[in-house]
């Protein structure tokens, strides 16, 4: 740079200018500062989930613990409710099962009586009396239980009373027979 009046650069001057560094790193915080400004303006949205900061991590852990505890609590409550409901259901199922058993037993009883009636003519007198007594005993026991269930049920009461009267008369007849035997 020898003359003030030259307008063009000399080759030496050009080399000197071209040797100037073209890049320089700014402060490390500038990038984050710039990104923060852009995020605040809604230009950028953070997608990198690996850049979780410690306060967020702590908040996440606290939320997880709270979720776990509330889950256990709710689970226990739901569990206790389920047991109560299960017991109620079991009781309901037992009553229904009992009713079904009564129905099945009644059908079997009637079916057995029908079978017995079908063969009664060809059966011996002892077998007939035994079958009839068994049927009456079953009918009496059933009437007895029905009156226990509902003492105001006139049908059940009438059947039981009729059967009791019949049994009483039969017992008296038996006693007469025995006496007759004794007497004979």
């Amino acid at each position: 740079m020898k003359s003030d009046e030259r307008t063009e650069l000399t080759p030496e001057e050009r080399v000197e200018i071209e040797s100037l560094p073209r890049e320089r790193q700014p402060g490390r915080l500038l990038e984050e500062r710039t990104l923060q400004s852009l995020r605040a303006r809604g230009v950028l949205k953070q997608r990198n989930v690996m850049r979780v900061r410690i306060p967020w991590l702590a908040a996440g852990l606290a939320a997880s613990v709270a979720l776990f505890v509330s889950g256990v609590t709710v689970g226990q409550w739901v569990g206790s409710r389920t047991v109560v409901e299960s017991m109620a259901t079991a009781q309901q199922q037992t009553a229904m099962q009992a009713a079904a058993a009564v129905q099945r037993a009644g059908s079997a009883y009637v079916t057995a009586l029908m079978a017995f009636a079908a063969v009664a003519d060809s059966s011996s007198n002892g077998a007939f009396a035994q079958g009839r007594e068994a049927a009456l005993n079953a009918l009496y026991a059933a009437a007895f239980e029905l009156v226990q269930i509902d003492p105001t049920d006139p049908v059940a009461v009438t059947i039981r009373e009729g059967l009791e009267q019949s049994r009483l008369e039969a017992r008296q007849a038996d006693n007469s027979a025995i006496q007759s035997v004794v007497w004979f």
Binding site: M1, K2, S3, D4, E5, R6, T7, L9, E16, I17, L20, P21, R22, E23, R24, Q25, P26, G27, L30, E31, R33, T34, L35, S37, L38, R39, R41, G42, V43, L44, K45, Q46, R47, N48
Partner: protein
Amino acid sequence: MLDGDEQAFRTLYRRHTPRLYQFALRVLAGREQDAEDVVQETWIRATEKLGQFRWESNLGTWLTGIALNLCRMLFRRQDEKWLEIREDLEPLIHEPQEHERIDLEDALTRLPSGYRTVLLLHDVEGFTHQQIGNQLEVSVNTSKSQLFHARRALRRMLTPLEVEKRGRAK
């Protein structure tokens, strides 16, 4: 970057910022804080105006233009006539003392902001006078004059006084 992808922005930022920062730092005579503010504001404006950018052109040049405008705003705040040719400024240029050695980088910081800006754009960044005129909103002649004065001032600063004295003695 257009859909707000932060990772894409970081990639773009890291690729262009070192050059952008160096440019702003030179234009602003080594004022680091101002240069960082300019870089940050450049990216903010660039993302806002990205829709206007034509991707077939050079993104670096476009960013430099934005940064330059921000530097101009700073200069204007300090001196409305920062780009006028003022002969009275010449004696105010901080020339080195007799045995002081300064390098080109130091000499650039001692130039008046108008001189420095035009010289940097023309001789360092490779802008034409027409492009400088468009960027700074001045005429081509003003750009040429600024460059002439800038080079002259720079030579005076970089020429050791004893060499200059010997040259004058011949």
